[in-house]
């Protein structure tokens, strides 16, 4: 069921697979949400970059290899299949970098991208604020124009990687009062005016980072407090006041293609298949064993359907299309697939899943899968986007 790839793509696949087979650490690296684990993941990124695999789709001058999107997906498939470490640089690689390609200056790209590829600089994202989760129009953190730059003040929260990262990017209010997009629609354009997209140093004077303890006891997220933090004009992306429009291109990437490539689900469906093969047909739920087999097959189908959908979007992108509301489809699709994979696995494991500890194994995956839709705007909002933009339903 491989997609149609040309021989050069297949050669690339073989090369990636060989390199990963040799280098993926075993045993796995310690958690990226600890100081030691973060450092280990940074080393891993440096190794990936050395092999030219950190950002295959980037131009060579920034550390990439000008790969097509299809080939990038091949890399992702292989990466998940090999069980490669979490990409500690993912906020930069998959969110900030596409924004710089679309809206940044040459100077910004030259300065920011190469150290991002080698993980010399690791980026945190700073979108959410208390009271402004999926609703960016409600942002209150301010950017006040001063001579040669801006002073940032306010609070960001749910900032992933911020506990150990070097720099961060996000939206700040540079004009007007914080608003609300109003009603049930997240996309009232006037309410999003006056936001500016900025990059800042997490170690600059005036920045305080406070980790948020997650259930696994590790600081997967942090709060960032900013008190008159100076940022030069060179670190504004796009036009001041137009940050919402700039951010939307990033959001499309986050939702659709980047963070959850199909490879992740193909690998998860394989993992589920393996679990089924080893599971106990005589267990307490044996009456339902056939039904679980059907659900495993369904997961297998769904992972492939998502892969095909993604390749379709990619084909469109390569033909010059742009990523719009279609990424909302992917978002709804993958988050539900994620949840259903975990549910099936838990049904297979039965009470044995109880012995894996509170936040690990499949139960932990399930918990985080359920909470997952927060990463990129809740599914509720994605569904509104689909209803309004793709089905033309009234707001």
């Amino acid at each position: 069921m491989d997609l149609d790839l040309d021989p050069a793509d297949e050669a690339f696949r073989a090369q990636v697979r060989a390199w990963l087979t040799e280098h993926v650490p075993d045993p796995p690296l310690p958690s990226v949400n600890t100081a030691a684990g973060f450092a280990a993941h940074r080393d891993w990124e440096r190794m990936l970059a050395g092999a030219g695999l950190a950002a295959v789709s980037w131009p060579a001058r920034y550390g990439g290899r000008d790969a097509s999107v299809a080939r990038w997906l091949v890399f992702e498939e292989e990466y998940y299949r090999a069980g490669g470490p979490v990409r500690v640089g993912q906020n930069g690689l998959f969110l900030l970098a596409p924004t710089l390609f679309a809206h940044g200056t040459d100077e910004q790209r030259d300065r920011v991208l190469p150290p991002m590829a080698t993980a010399e600089v690791v980026w945190a994202q700073a979108w959410s604020e208390p009271g402004a989760g999926s609703d960016l129009a409600a942002i209150r953190s301010a950017a006040r124009p001063v001579d040669g730059g801006w002073l940032l003040s306010g609070q960001k929260t749910w900032s992933s990687r911020a506990a150990f990262a070097d720099r961060a990017f996000g939206l700040f209010r540079s004009e007007g009062p914080p608003g609300s997009s109003g009603g049930s629609s997240p996309r009232n354009s006037t309410a999003h005016r006056g936001l500016t997209y900025l990059m800042f140093d997490l170690r600059a004077p005036g920045v305080t980072v406070r980790p948020i303890a997650q259930l696994d006891g590790e600081p997967g997220f942090a709060e960032i407090f900013l008190d008159e933090v100076f940022v030069p004009d060179a670190d504004v992306i796009g036009t001041p006041g137009e940050g919402w429009r700039v951010a939307m291109s990033t959001a499309s990437h986050e939702r659709g293609l980047s963070l959850r490539s199909p490879g992740r689900f193909l690998a998860a469906a394989d993992r589920l298949t393996g679990l089924w093969q080893r599971s106990d047909a005589d267990g307490p739920a044996s009456g339902a064993h056939g039904a679980v087999a059907a659900r495993v097959a369904d997961a297998w189908i769904a992972a492939r359907a998502y892969q095909l959908h993604t390749f379709g979007v990619v084909a469109d992108l390569e033909a010059g299309g742009t990523l719009g509301a279609e990424s909302s489809l992917g978002k709804v699709f993958w988050s539900e697939l994620d949840v259903s994979l975990c549910e099936t696995a838990l049904d297979l494991l039965g009470p044995q899943a109880e012995l894996t500890g509170p936040e690990r194994g499949w139960p932990g995956s399930y918990l985080f899968a359920l909470a997952g839709p927060i990463y990129a705007g809740t599914n509720e909002i994605q569904r509104s986007v689909i209803a309004e933009r793709l089905l033309g339903m009234p707001r």
Binding site: M1, D4, S184, T273, W276, Q277, R278, S279, D280, A281, D282, H289, G290, A293, A294, V296, A297, D298, W300, I301, A302, R304, A305, Y306, L308, H309, G312, V313, A315, D316, A319, L329, V332, F333, Q352, L355, E380, Q382, R383, S384, V385, I386, A387, E388, L390, L391, G392, M393, P394, R395
Partner: protein, 414 residues
């Protein structure tokens, strides 16, 4: 959308010409209700479709077809699914034609396929029994060699049994019968439709836009279709007689015909689902409750958005199955994808159709609106060639393999 599915400009043009024809000559959906002129109008529609090549898409040029393939067939099936047009694409141009082709019987191909490809003849395949199952290694009818008084076989075979769910079986000019052979295996026989001992009766199915028939047979026919199967090696061992070759050929031909029919049916289901969703979206925009269109209610929007996401993924899978079938992949691989597509598209159409009825409310159960027709198509097509659970079981067997006990007890002991 077509570009997303990787269709070529020629394929997109085919879709447009079929859609255009269906717009200009809409199908009559009241045929089964016995409305005057409906059956004739739909027969005329099929001739028009055949006129632009739809009936012979997947039939090689040497037999009068267009020599195209499963992707083109799926494009036409999707458009027919959108309109629920009751024409014999699936039963005649796909299922029966592929069974004949799969038999490898050169003579039968030359005799039967050109008429099917031109739309001048309609073919039907009588296969499964009342329980359904569509197992390529089984058939509802049985074949025996007729024996003369002197104890010698005279080359005539006797078919007995009752086949159900025969697509277009009551109107077909060409009847192919799958029957179990005395030496085991399955043979394919051509039966005359006008002989005594061939009773055909239209089945009053749930889906009135799909012609199904029950066919009871107790009739004499010629020997089974036979020839080198187009794929797979010939049986080894002792030199095959006509009948023993036919045992292998029959099951191979049925497997191939079923898989390609599942692929085409998946596309048809995607078309029906997409259209039912469009009609429902349109209805919710027009229906006013509490002073505003119900399309503006968030709960309604989210249900329809979810369905839209499902239809898109079903469509990706349906076309992938067609592309793999077109690529000359192994029968096993085609079968796997056909099962995946059929299962997924059946589920998605069922969900869309059920939601359509719920959102239409009372008018969904009147003749004025088509919502009920899509619901019935969902039900009927979901069962045709086996329900989703049967296809999932095939996938589980093929991909997942049997379960082995998990020796966790020891691991868990401390």
């Amino acid at each position: 959308m077509d570009a997303l599915a990787g269709l070529t400009p020629e394929q997109q043009a085919l879709r447009e010409s079929v859609a255009d024809l269906l717009r200009r000559h809409p199908a009559r959906l009241d045929e089964e209700a016995g409305e005057a002129g409906a059956a004739e109008a739909n027969a005329e529609l099929w001739r028009r479709l055949a006129g632009i090549g739809a009936a012979g898409l997947a039939i090689p040029e040497r037999y009068g077809g267009a020599g195209a393939g499963p992707v083109e067939t799926s494009i036409v099936a999707e458009e027919l699914g959108r309109t629920l047009a009751p024409v014999p694409l699936l039963g005649s141009a796909v299922l029966a034609a592929q069974a004949i082709l799969g038999s490898g019987d050169e003579q039968a191909c030359q005799r039967l396929l050109p008429g099917i490809a031109s739309g001048s003849r309609i073919a039907a395949l009588a296969w499964t029994g009342a329980r359904g199952g569509w197992d390529p290694a089984a058939a509802a009818c049985h074949a025996e060699r007729r024996v003369q008084r002197d104890g010698e076989a005279d080359g005539i075979w006797t078919l007995t049994g009752t086949a159900h769910y025969v697509l277009d079986g009551d109107v077909a000019d060409v009847l192919i019968v799958a029957a179990s052979l005395p030496e085991g295996g399955i043979g394919l026989f051509e039966a005359a439709t006008d002989r005594p001992g061939v009773e055909r009766q239209a089945a009053a199915g749930v889906d009135q836009t799909r012609r199904l028939a029950t066919i009871r047979l107790a009739t004499g026919v010629g020997p089974p279709l036979t020839g080198a199967a187009p794929t797979g090696p010939a049986p080894t061992g002792a030199a095959p007689t006509a009948a023993t070759t036919a045992t292998t050929v029959g099951t191979q031909a049925l497997t191939r015909a079923r898989d390609l029919a599942c692929v085409a049916l998946s596309a048809e289901q995607v078309g029906a689902a997409a259209r039912a969703l469009e009609l429902t979206v349109a209805y919710t925009k027009q229906r006013i409750q509490f002073g505003r269109p119900i399309a503006s209610f968030q709960a309604v929007q989210h249900r329809l958005a979810e369905l839209h996401a499902l239809v898109q993924s079903a469509r990706a899978l349906a076309y992938r199955a067609a592309q793999v079938a077109a690529s000359g992949a192994s029968q096993a691989e085609v079968g796997l994808l056909a099962a995946a597509a059929k299962s997924c598209c059946s589920d998605v159409l069922a969900k869309v159709a059920a939601e359509a009825i719920q959102l239409h409310g009372a008018i969904g159960v009147t003749w004025e609106y088509d919502a009920h027709r899509y619901f019935k198509r969902a039900h009927g097509s979901g069962q045709l060639f086996g329900p989703p659970a049967a296809h999932l079981a095939r996938i589980a067997d093929a991909v997942i393999g049997p379960a082995e006990p998990l020796a966790l007890a020891d691991d868990l002991a401390f």
